[in-house]
Symmetry: C2
Subunit: 244 residues, 2 copies
């Protein structure tokens, strides 16, 4: 599956091209194209800001017109700040990423077009896109070019990423057996009984239920069960010492 | 609903604190806290990079220890690069945002803790968090502090944002009536008939079906239907001229 090309139209600052390249590398994108860059090219500041993504800067292709840069693109989305008067479908980055992924899976070459830092995309460039992407923001909407590429790249990776929403390290992922838990419960309750903790006695049953629920909620590993049992032993030993 | 606090532990560069503040403002966050900043504070570079978010920098609170900075926080997530050996649940930014939103709706004060640029969070700090957040990346994982805050802030806004995944401007959102569409179809087909476009005639029915489907697919507005009818009139007029 081919990842989308990132196409920057008339970028003004090498720094921003560098940040964009770095953001691309963060999220598995590599095809960088520049339309009529307004800064010198090749550009030292771009290389510095790209940090570990110098290969993307070196592989970037420069075109003089949008028509040339877009020639092989079959699905094209254009980013625009909110409020632009375009007669066009507007997608969230997430919805755009899903469509780009679907197109890529069908073997279609896709791209996302970003305008210049100052002026964004002009109407001619917008008119070439299948849809617009607007990044949702709070009342303070200004995102710089590197940030916009970062968020779009992030959604692209997410759309192909199988990371579960929540997970735990292996050591925690294997919860202790019921046998060990029951041994722990009985050990703890025996010592608490000996210490006359359950008072008044008619409340014992409810108290035991609460303590067990509290322990179960933390989904203990085998090692953690052993640690707690050691703690109980230590505390009890200490108490006898104190009492002697 | 109170948005999460952003807590930066031992940040090294004013620039990064400024970028973080700007990203916060982009996505509706305002409570910035610093634990033992390693740069001078107040910091000019932070103000410059914050751009329109100077109020967040000015309102930032500085604490000497994590315990002080976190005192009022009831739900705390800590960001960590992948691979950290923490015995802790790991959330995607999206899952974390959902949980933060749920907690905030319950009136709980929440926060996200970010480590220093060089070393991240230490184990003591991690041990105070309810869960870790790891941002999914491609093989090139390094995100700077400002970028990490940007992505977390973006997911926070998304979790409260009602922007539909896809929408169109009002002018397009009102599709033309069937009556106008049928008039258009008949106008076009009448002129094509006159121009002997439908050949061989037994294919006419299928050709008409394809043309109608093509037109319907673009979900035309009233104005666009009028434009197309004008185009047909103009083309036909031109043809008669050419033939005369």
């Amino acid at each position: 599956m081919t990842a989308p090309a990132i196409i920057l139209s008339r970028p003004q600052l090498g720094e921003n091209i560098g940040s964009a390249a770095r953001a691309m590398k963060n999220f598995g994108l590599s095809d960088l194209r520049l339309i009529a860059p307004q800064c010198s090219w090749p550009n030292d500041r771009a290389m510095v800001l790209a940090s570990g993504a110098g290969d993307i800067i070196e592989g970037a292709r420069v075109f003089q017109t949008a028509a040339e840069a877009l020639a092989d693109i079959r699905v094209l989305f254009a980013t625009t700040a909110r409020g632009r008067d375009v007669l066009r479908e507007i997608l969230t980055p997430e919805a755009a990423a899903t469509r780009l992924r679907t197109a890529a899976l069908e073997g279609l070459k896709t791209a996302i077009l970003f305008g210049s830092e100052r002026a964004g995309l002009d109407n001619d460039e917008m008119s070439l896109a299948d849809a617009a992407i607007t990044i949702p923001t709070a009342e303070f909407p200004s995102l710089n070019l590197g940030q916009a590429v970062l968020l779009i790249g992030y959604e692209w990776l997410k759309s192909t990423d199988a990371t579960p929403a929540t997970r735990t390290r292996k050591t925690v992922a294997v919860p202790s057996s019921r046998a060990d838990l029951i041994d722990l419960f009985e050990h703890l309750e025996r010592e608490l009984d000996a210490a006359k903790f359950f008072y008044p006695s008619e409340k014992k049953e409810a108290m035991v239920r609460n303590i067990r629920a509290m322990i179960l909620r933390s989904r203990l590993s085998d090692q953690e069960v052993r640690t707690i049992r050691g703690m109980i032993v230590a505390l009890v030993r200490n108490k006898y010492r104190g009492a002697s």
